[in-house]
């Protein structure tokens, strides 16, 4: 069985020292090993951004796509080969600005993939512009007088789109993050994991310390029930979305793969492509 070291390669990430994304990478590697994956049965699909580089840093099949499109690509991979474990990942700009439409639709479609967002509330790679997760008043290169647009409550939003697994974590909590990613991988359906992953270069507000101070662990809330959608919503609204843990999980609903009419249990990628002559003639006859 593979250990987390088997998911490592020798490439030195080009992230800035101290960037939150290092821990996210480590957590994915550990979670992959913990749930018993082999590197060649894992596909990591990522978007464009500092975070998007992650697909190159994990030893597994990796697909570094285009900005905002990690989710449709990842869904395509899973639909083609349901035997693979598919992780999609990227930044908050990637997933919630240019990729917002895909995020909502991936959630409602509920294909069995795990989506990990490295949320630093800023655009890192393009050197510090506002993101849809930036707080009102946050000063960036593109909002020198402070952002005036509301930050998206992404966890709440996911619930309204029909999410079956919604979780949030913090990149330094390696243990918790790893176990949440494991749960996400094991979840049958789409799992959204938003990880606060501080950008030490461009975000001087939402720092490691800031999160330590502001994040409320769900484990500290008495009788929190992650199968209760209404409770999940209320808790999020009451805490301005600043909670961590598994917020909501629907363990009952089947994934898209299991619901799609006629969709084979055998991975499509493994099927024989050839038609029999008889079948071919039958198809022709239907037009006669």
């Amino acid at each position: 069985m593979a250990t987390f070291k088997d998911f490592r390669n020798s490439i030195k990430p080009n992230w800035c020292p101290g960037c939150g994304d290092f821990s996210v990478q480590a957590a994915i590697q550990r979670a992959a090993a913990n749930v018993g994956l082999e590197p060649d049965n894992l596909a990591v699909v990522s978007g464009i951004g500092c975070s998007g580089r992650i697909s190159g840093y994990i030893k597994s099949y990796g697909f570094h796509g285009i900005h905002g499109r990690s989710l449709p690509i990842a869904q395509g991979v899973k639909m083609a080969n349901r035997d693979l474990t598919v992780i999609a990942s990227g930044g908050d700009g990637d997933g919630f600005a240019i990729g917002m439409g895909h995020t909502v639709h991936a959630i409602r479609r509920n294909i069995d993939i795990t989506y990990i967002v490295m949320d630093n509330q800023i655009y890192g790679l393009t050197k510090g512009q506002t993101s849809p997760r930036s707080d009102v008043g946050f000063k960036t290169k593109s909002t020198p007088e402070g952002s005036v647009e509301s930050a998206i409550g992404i966890m709440e939003l996911a619930l309204t789109a029909g999410a079956t697994f919604v979780a949030q974590s913090f990149s330094t909590d390696l243990k918790e993050l790893t176990s949440i990613i494991e749960a996400g991988i094991n979840h049958k359906g789409f799992s959204l994991i938003n990880v606060f992953s501080p950008c030490v270069t461009y975000n001087k507000v939402n720092t490691y310390d800031w999160f330590k101070e502001h994040l409320v662990p769900l484990s500290s809330i008495e009788n929190y029930d992650s199968s209760n959608r209404m409770m999940a919503m209320q808790t999020l609204m009451e805490n301005k979305g600043l909670v961590k843990g598994i917020i909501y999980q629907d363990k009952v609903k089947p994934s898209y793969q299991d619901l799609a009419h006629g969709y084979s249990k055998e991975a499509l990628a493994k099927m024989d492509l050839n038609l029999s002559e008889e079948k071919f003639n039958q198809l022709m006859t239907e037009f006669m």
């Binding site: 697909s55 697909f63 084979s264 499509l268």
Partner: protein, 580 residues
């Protein structure tokens, strides 16, 4: 007795005009006639004039005809809009309900048949189209029984009674017409057909069937006219093969999802029309850069922007060749008949996998939606070639320090070995960023140059069956007619007429648009006095491509039409004469 005639039925959209034409055509197709039908419809759901023009012939035909023999009208508008198309002595049969009239100065024969009334008497006015079909068969001298098979297929699940009633409607329509006309009228009787079985299908059907036969098991697409039929067919059929279709949130998702699935080893396609293709431009670049096979169908329609979504045009050519920033290998194919559409669909899948690049299967509204008789397809020509991918292969361990597979190995033919996720020892990285042989991002100049050269070199050796369909009768021609996609039919019909007027005419129909078959075209151009490029667009896109790739600008003339309607043979003949 005649060998071909043209028949048209018209009325308000949503009134059953389509099915009238459909039943008429299907029945005649069963008798072994060659059918060609082209619908005029507009971008609304109910209401608005629509018509379906059907050509019936004892030999193959792929173009709408210049004139019209019989017009079936469900409203006066249909007569007003279409009567001038009728030939001298042509027949109009209108529903007596609206008191049909024809212009006095025209020599046409008008018959008012109570379509609606007869139908209502039989139980429902919906059957008025059956009455109209009956009247038609009386004109043609076809026995009413010719329709039985088709009527049974369509209505049998509603019960024998319904079948009976519909046949009765046809009979009554025929009887009524015969009464009015006093027996059969001259000049409308068709020679007997060969009785052979042929399919009756639109280009989109053929493409969709080609995809199923060619191993497509997944499709991601977003609805749009005139592409939707491809999606609809696969929605119905793929589950029979364990596959499925996802209707995505938009075309960007459709195209990138298809890329993901192709990367993971499944033949996956998407289809759309101009607006969707414009949205896919970034994704096409990703396919080109990552060398992930991809087949996209573009069913051209009237542009630009939303344009004329239900009309014929061939104006996406340049965008399909050159759209997407930067430079990628890309293949653009343009079938010119429904048969070719089928075989090209299969071949597009093979080329995409063999050359690991995006392939655009270009069609146009006339070819995509024009419905016609098609000879049975050849199962033995359906071949699946996956190029350098063998999913069942056992890969050796690699010598890369990370154990990465050289997915982007620089090879002489420009094509790298391909593996898919899940294969042991196949791990590699895929990225739209410039990368080294294992797919790791790299900005090193020498590597860049090698990878660019590799990608761009792979189509140098593209094997393509018939890049240009040639009808070369003359060593030296007065006119070389050049076209692509659906104009083939009209050009083939214009040629003998031009020859009859003393011109030596050759014809080259381009099926491989990009990379352009310049070597094939050059001698044809060399040996022609005038090259006339027939296109349904306003800027002469194909002519420009010819100029860029072959030269001889002074010879190359544009024959353009871009008002939304297909060419008529007479237009081509007339304009050719003007241009030489």
């Amino acid at each position: 007795m005649i060998d071909q005639l043209s028949w048209k039925v018209g009325g308000q959209q949503g009134e059953g005009i389509d099915s009238t034409g459909e039943i008429f055509a299907m029945a005649l197709n069963r008798l072994g006639y060659y059918l060609y039908s082209y619908r005029h419809f507009s971008s609304r759901i109910k209401g608005g004039h629509t018509n379906n023009k059907i050509r019936v012939s004892t030999s193959e035909t792929r173009s709408i005809s210049d004139d019209l023999d019989i017009l079936i009208a469900f409203d006066q508008e249909t007569i007003d809009v279409n009567v001038h198309e009728l030939r001298d002595g042509g027949v109009v049969i209108g529903d007596s309900k609206f008191n049909p009239t024809v212009p006095e100065d025209l020599n046409v024969r008008l018959y008012a048949v109570p379509f609606t009334e007869i139908a209502s008497e039989l139980g429902t006015s919906l059957m008025k189209n059956m009455v109209a079909i009956g009247a038609t068969s009386a004109v043609l001298g076809l026995p009413v029984e010719s329709y039985l098979e088709v009527v049974e297929e369509i209505f049998s699940r509603k019960g024998a009674k319904v079948v009976e009633k519909n046949m009765e409607a046809i009979q009554k329509g025929a009887d009524h017409f015969n009464e009015l006309s006093g027996g059969q009228i001259d000049g409308f009787q068709l020679n007997k057909a060969d009785g052979k079985k042929r399919m009756f299908m639109i280009g989109n059907d053929a493409i969709a069937l080609g995809f199923v036969a060619g191993g497509v098991r997944f499709m991601a697409a977003y609805p749009i006219t005139p592409a939707s039929e491809i999606m609809e067919y696969l929605i119905k059929k793929l589950p029979e093969f364990g596959g499925t279709v996802i209707q995505t949130e938009d075309e960007i998702a459709a195209c990138t999802m298809a890329i993901g699935a192709n990367y993971a080893g499944v033949r996956t396609i998407t289809s759309s029309a101009g607006p969707g293709l414009s949205l896919m431009m970034e994704a096409l670049g990703l396919s080109g850069m990552t060398e992930v096979p991809l087949v996209v169908v573009d069913t051209q329609r009237g542009g630009p922007s939303t344009g004329l979504p239900t009309k014929q045009e061939q104006s996406d050519l340049m965008a399909m060749i050159y759209g997407t920033h930067g430079e990628i290998p890309k293949v653009v194919m343009a079938p010119s008949t429904v048969e070719e559409a089928f075989y090209d669909a299969v071949e597009a899948l093979n080329i995409a996998e063999e050359y690991q690049c995006p392939v655009i299967l270009l069609t146009d509204l006339q070819l995509s939606l024009g419905k016609q008789s098609v000879e049975p397809l050849d199962f033995n020509r359906v071949e699946i070639r996956r190029g350098k991918l063998d999913p069942s292969q056992e890969l050796p361990e690699t010598d890369d320090k990370d154990g990465y597979f050289k997915r982007y190995e620089v090879t002489e033919d420009g094509i790298s070995p391909r593996v898919i996720p899940g294969m042991k020892n196949g791990i590699h990285h895929v990225t739209g960023v410039e990368h080294d042989e294992t797919g790791k991002p790299s900005e090193v100049a020498a590597n860049r140059q090698k990878q660019m050269d590799k990608r761009l070199r792979k189509l140098n050796r593209l094997r393509f069956n018939v890049p240009v369909v040639k009808q070369i009768k003359h060593e030296q021609a007065d006119i070389l007619l050049v076209g692509f996609n659906s104009t083939r039919g009209v050009i083939e019909e214009a040629m003998p007429r031009l020859e009859a007027e003393g011109f030596k005419v050759n014809h080259a129909h381009i099926r491989l648009i990009h990379p352009f078959p310049a070597d094939e075209m050059k001698p044809l151009i060399d040996s022609a006095k005038t090259v006339i490029v027939v296109e349904n667009n306003a800027t002469g896109q194909l002519a420009n491509i010819l100029k860029m790739n072959v030269g001889q600008h002074e010879k190359i003339k544009n024959l353009l039409k871009y008002d939304g309607n297909p060419f008529l043979p007479s237009e081509v003949v007339m304009k050719c004469k003007e241009l030489v």
